[in-house]
């Protein structure tokens, strides 16, 4: 039972890391290697609010979310759209966006270093036990799980029950055809990228309540997010959520039952196994 709850809590953490990238990669088709930096920036927003303004870190959503949205909008509009335009096919765009966002990741680390400094930022918030079925769990992790559920639910509903969501999915499936049904594809892609960035930054806020971060740590989150997105199947929100949960449960089970030293190895092994048996990810579609 403990393993189950701990695993779900960790899975929720992972889904917060990966949800934004699912939108950015699934719809806007940008494999954003600077995604982790956006998360760290969001986390820093929360840290700043908490330590200097003495407010709940969650109040930072008020400026982090719109800020990240606008920033990512601009990034896509001015830095990535030229790449989308010049790419002759999806493969070229993939290579170009890997290269460009890798450069961006460097630049972001540099900027954050300037703005935030290089130290660890960590603080205690909701750092108290809450009992679930008699076992103590960190309240901040439980809250993170709830936020994650809410966020995933909203995204899922938004994508499946609204006209805009349907348009986003159409762009994900076939951008050229989407233009033929009056969908403004560049605008939708930009929107998806910006929304993904905002979701990632909000994830950063939530994670900062229990993870220690510094300006250089973004790459760690990017790697995890990439693995989850790929494991779930590109562009599928459900897949990303399931993959997060599987990873969370597997890591916790291995840590509790076998050896904590093998948790990450087990996670990568699992990733490999999934790809071996479903090369297109859990919910992915085979490219024809």
């Amino acid at each position: 039972m403990d393993i189950l709850i701990t695993g779900v809590l960790l899975g929720a953490t992972y889904s917060l890391i990966a949800m934004g990238l699912t939108l950015q990669y699934g719809v806007a088709r940008i494999m954003n290697l600077a995604n982790g930096e956006m998360l760290v920036a969001g986390a820093f927003g929360a840290f700043w609010v908490f330590t200097t303004q003495k407010l709940s870190p969650f109040t930072s959503v008020a400026f982090v979310a719109p800020g990240a949205f606008v920033l990512n909008w601009l990034i896509y509009r001015f830095l990535l759209r030229p790449l989308v335009r010049r790419a002759k096919n999806r493969g070229m765009l993939e290579v170009d966006s890997i290269l460009a966002t890798f450069g961006m990741a460097f630049a972001f680390v540099g900027i954050m270093l300037l703005v935030f400094g290089g130290e660890y930022f960590t603080y205690s918030y909701l750092d108290e036990p809450v009992a679930i079925f008699g076992s103590p769990f960190g309240l901040n992790r439980v809250v993170a799980c709830l936020v994650s559920v809410a966020l995933c639910g909203l995204l899922y509903l938004g994508l499946n029950a609204t006209r805009t969501g349907m348009a986003l999915r159409a762009v994900a499936v076939d951008p050229a055809a989407a233009g033929l049904v009056a969908i403004d594809v560049p605008r939708m892609s930009t929107f998806a990228f910006a929304l993904g960035g905002a979701v990632t930054a909000v994830g950063g806020i939530v994670l900062s309540t229990f993870l220690t971060m510094d300006a250089s740590i973004g790459i760690v989150f990017t790697m995890k997010a990439l693995i989850i997105v790929i494991m779930g199947g590109v562009g599928d929100v459900r897949g990303a959520i399931i993959a997060s949960l599987i990873l969370g449960l597997a890591e916790t089970a291995v840590a509790s039952l076998i050896d904590p030293g093998l948790t990450l190895a087990a996670a990568y092994l699992l990733f490999l196994l999934v790809l071996l048996f479903r090369p297109e990810g859990l919910f992915g579609r085979r490219q024809s």
Partner: protein
């Protein structure tokens, strides 16, 4: 061999001979710069042997490299260094074979991300073994090997990469890989064993990366997992190769040299803003040199040819 080929081979041999004299002329900083260039040349060229024709972007270089370094670190006190170099190459090749068997059927981005995770996986396993089984107390590589010798070893490896690359391009294997890179379904339907062909090249590039890791290990004295398996290395190799161009054997080289120098200039001139400027420089490269240096050179040659014709 045609006449032209004979000439090129001779030119390469002469160039290598001249480069081999380099350590007698320069020392210290410039030599360490040369070591960096030589290292990335071997890594990027052997990477491009596999990834150029097949379009499989492998981010696993660090896994093989780190493994090679660890082979040396583990055995440096008991096994002769030369043997270790061979063992490291074999280790890289064997792991590449295992990984290749499992993953080379993955397409596009799935392969990219898996290889990215691979360095992490190998690192986790190596660390766990180190922690639980060998019980070693840190990995020291204390040898008498100087930077000069490292440079020569790398140069020899570079010669080997070019030789193998040249042989592959002329062979059926090279042609098969180009077809695979275009369309694997067609490849299968003209009778190509895609898996074996890709595996062969992946193993070659893994072997080289492992050997390079072993060559570089004495330079670091102390091997840590986070350093031996740094993902940054994998990315840099990919970027330099793509920057140069992967469709020519010499392509990665013309990427490695300007890139190393540019990064060096930035690191030297702007020490407090290194990372920011590296990122910006990087973006400029991606936007301004979309087809790689080779693409630039070739279009320049074409342009020159045209103006000669017209003039």
């Amino acid at each position: 061999m045609t006449r032209r080929e004979t000439v090129s081979v001779a030119m390469v041999a002469v160039a290598l001979a001249i480069l081999a004299c380099l350590p007698f002329l320069v020392d210290g900083y410039l030599l360490s710069l040369a070591v960096g260039i030589a290292m990335y040349t071997v890594l990027a060229t052997s990477w491009a042997l596999f990834s150029g024709p097949t379009h499989y972007i492998s981010l696993a270089t660090a896994a093989f490299y780190g493994l090679g370094a660890y082979v040396v670190a583990a055995g440096v006190d008991v096994i002769p260094y030369a043997v270790l170099l061979g063992l490291a190459g074999i280790a890289g090749g064997v792991v590449a074979a295992l990984v290749g068997l499992a993953t080379l059927r993955l397409s596009g981005v799935y392969f990219v991300i898996f290889t990215l995770g691979l360095a992490e996986l190998v690192r986790q396993i190596v660390t766990w073994v180190q922690n639980n089984l060998t019980g070693s107390r840190g990995m020291y590589v204390l040898t008498e090997i100087t930077e000069r010798m490292i440079f020569w070893e790398l140069l020899a490896l570079a010669a080997a990469v070019y030789l193998i690359g040249w042989l592959v391009t002329r062979s059926r294997l090279g042609f098969a890989l180009r077809i695979i890179g275009n369309d694997e379904v067609v490849a299968a339907h003209v009778g190509i064993n895609s898996a074996a062909s890709k595996l062969a090249l992946f193993v070659i590039s893994g072997t080289f990366a492992g050997t390079v890791g072993a060559v570089m290990a004495p330079r670091f004295t102390y091997i840590e997992p986070s350093i031996a398996f740094s993902p940054e290395l994998s990315f840099q190799v990919v970027i330099m190769a793509l920057l140069g161009g992967v469709h020519r054997l010499w392509g990665p080289l013309v990427g490695v040299i300007p890139f190393t120098i540019l990064w060096e200039v930035i690191a030297g001139r702007f020490p407090t803003q290194t990372v920011l400027l590296l990122g910006i420089a990087f973006l400029l490269i991606v936007y301004l040199i979309p087809n790689g240096v080779v693409g630039r050179i070739e279009s320049a040659i074409k342009l020159a040819g045209r103006s000669v014709k017209h003039g």
